[in-house]
């Protein structure tokens, strides 16, 4: 079985969110980059778990981004990817990214494509769904559990207020979230091995974007917290009723 794991680079969860160039660009000054947590903790580790059960599984990683994504992809290789492809395209248009991944996916004829539920920077949650349309394959989103039995799979996905389990056959695209697998830390052997694992660079082939970011804004600062005396909860109830009008 061949698995393609989509890897995205995102700012660390504690990164200061600020913008530059007249609020048109994310300010990367001093930002630490990580593998998007959904991609790392859930899709990649799930692929590794499948490989641990079946040594014939091959895990390929794909990332769409500039040369500065390479430390991230090396870390993903250290965790357990077999080889990686970087498409040298720095677009942040989801459709451009999805089309680049679709081209790699078609060429590699993968049985399973795993993505994270969303990235923690642009929160678009779009790539898996777009791949579904571009490749005309089954797509199950927000999955919390996956079992592979030969060419059929059982997947549990989140629905509002519960979970839904379904069966389908490979090939399939699955977006992963919490529940799918447990976070791991790369070990020394993995880190050493990652240095020599193949990382192929493919030139960008898609250039037409359908959207363009005009500007960013930060939310208005809260006007400050109003403290209520812990001995006077009647006052808090009054404020919630009369001032905030939420109860």
């Amino acid at each position: 079985m061949k698995i393609l794991v989509c890897i995205s680079k995102t700012p660390d969860t504690t990164a200061k969110i600020a913008f530059a160039e007249g609020n048109t660009k994310f300010d990367e000054n001093g930002v630490q980059w990580i593998i998007n947590p959904y991609d790392e903790w859930y899709s990649l580790v799930k692929a590794i778990e499948l490989k641990e059960k079946d040594a014939t599984v091959a895990i390929h990683l794909v990332t769409v981004g500039g040369a500065d994504t390479e430390p991230i992809i090396r870390k993903a290789l250290a965790l357990g990817g077999d080889e990686a492809i970087r498409v040298n395209n720095t677009s942040n248009d989801s459709l451009v990214v999805a089309q680049e991944i679709a081209a790699i996916a078609k060429e590699g004829a993968y049985d399973l494509i795993l993505t994270g539920k969303e990235t923690i920077d642009y929160n678009s949650a779009s790539i898996g769904s777009m791949l579904c349309a571009l490749l005309d394959q089954n797509f199950i989103s927000a999955a919390v559990k996956l079992e592979v039995n030969g060419s059929s799979i059982t997947v549990t996905r989140e629905i509002e207020g519960g979970e839904e389990t379904c069966e389908t056959s490979l090939p399939a695209i699955i977006s992963c979230q919490k529940g799918m697998a447990e976070q791991r830390i790369p070990n020394m052997r993995g880190i050493m091995a990652a240095r020599t694992k193949p990382l192929k660079v493919v030139e960008a082939s898609i250039t037409t974007a359908t959207t363009s970011i005009k500007n960013f804004d930060l939310p208005p600062a809260k006007s400050g917290v109003k403290l209520v005396d812990p001995a006077n909860m009647d006052e808090l109830v009054r404020l919630l009723k009369e001032e905030a009008k939420v109860i």
């Binding site: 700012p11 969860t13 969110i17 947590p37 903790w41 989801s94 459709l95 999805a98 969303e118 923690i120 920077d121 642009y122 929160n123 949650a125 779009s126 769904s129 777009m130 579904c132 349309a133 005309d136 089954n138 797509f139 199950i140 989103s141 927000a142 059982t154 989140e158 629905i159 509002e160 207020g161 519960g162 839904e164 389990t165 069966e167 389908t168 056959s169 919490k178 529940g179 359908t210 959207t211 363009s212 005009k214 500007n215 960013f216 804004d217 939310p219 809260k222 917290v225 109003k226 403290l227 005396d229 812990p230 001995a231 009647d234 808090l236 109830v237 919630l240 905030a244 939420v246 109860i247």
Partner: protein
């Protein structure tokens, strides 16, 4: 025409769809066109009632195969319907199913998409949609450059507007591809409002010390009619079920009221709740970072404050 996708679950229209219609109707008005709804499959609700939220017409693809969700099939049907009806904008709720299909529909229509929109588009120059990014820590204004556009809207960001309209219902004939996904079981938490749809949420953190202490929080939630949530360490330690975990790596919610009890307010936690309209923080540490993000704060011991708040709420309800 603005076309709004009506999401259903087990033949019931999702609350998020009503908000999507209100949003679509406001956009249609702004563009000088009509707002029409698209329903796949059959529902128990009275479909003409969708007119109350602003849809003038409901197009129904009346095929019971569509009552169970399959992203590939639904996206195909919606795209074909949008083409047949000549929709210029297609609106989805940014809920579980909307996230799974809106991007696929955009591919099939050759349309630019903005997911997680939080306001009406600006259409005086171009077509610019504001969405939340960095898990609610910022907004991005994104221009869609294609003639047809797809938008999914964040839940509880626009509001539901109820009028007294009634929609005409028309059958729409669209080929339905065969699904190769078989749903084998559905597991729902009984009797609870799904967290993403709840307007009142009471949430607990490690400050409550252990699962045996959740009673005071549940009593408060009951008094308010609120849903319950928790911080990540709480669900990681199995004090509470995983579906209650909110934050950057859990659910992102935007209720009208979020009451945080014994939660420090780590940046990853705030990322899941910072779109709440009103935030109340109860914490014994006056330096807890959550107070900076709060509208109302109570510096005190949760084990005393929470029961007192519950009593005050019950008193105010009884006395009203």
């Amino acid at each position: 025409m603005v076309l709004i996708y009506i999401d259903q679950d087990d033949q019931e229209i999702k609350k998020a769809s009503y908000e999507a219609i209100s949003y679509g109707a406001a956009l249609a008005k702004q563009l000088g066109t009509s707002a029409e709804a698209l329903l796949l499959g059959t529902v128990k609700d009275n479909i003409a009632d969708l007119g109350k939220y602003g849809a003038s017409k409901v197009h129904q693809v009346n095929n019971i195969a569509l009552n169970s969700f399959d992203a590939r099939v639904n996206a195909n049907v919606i795209a074909e319907a949008a083409k047949a009806l000549g929709a210029s904008v297609v609106i989805f709720a940014h809920n579980v199913n909307g996230k799974a299909i809106a991007p696929a529909v955009s591919v099939k229509l050759g349309a630019g998409i903005v997911t997680g929109a939080c306001a009406l588009p600006k259409t005086d120059v171009g077509f610019v949609v504001t969405k939340t990014v960095f898990s609610g820590k910022a907004f991005a204004s994104i221009q869609i450059d294609t003639p047809v556009k797809v938008i999914s809207i964040n839940q509880n960001s626009f509001g539901i507007e109820v009028g007294d309209g009634s929609a005409t219902v028309a059958n729409l004939d669209v080929a339905v591809p065969t699904s190769s996904i078989k749903i084998t079981s559905v597991d729902k938490i009984q009797g609870e409002v799904p967290l993403t749809e709840a307007s009142l949420v009471v949430s607990g953190g490690r400050g409550l010390k252990g699962p045996e202490n959740w009673g005071i929080l549940l009593d408060l939630a009951k008094a308010l009619g609120a849903s319950t949530a928790c911080s990540r360490p709480v669900s990681d330690s199995d004090w509470r079920p995983h579906h209650e975990h909110v934050g950057q790596t859990g659910l992102q919610i935007a209720p009208n009221l979020y009451i945080a009890i014994g939660i420090s307010g780590a940046i990853q936690h705030l990322a899941g709740v910072n779109r709440s309209k009103t935030i109340v923080v109860i914490n014994k540490d006056p330096e807890a970072p959550f107070f900076k993000a709060a509208d109302y704060g109570v510096v005190g011991d949760a084990f005393e404050v929470v029961p007192a708040l519950t009593a005050a709420i019950l008193k105010s309800k009884g006395g009203a």
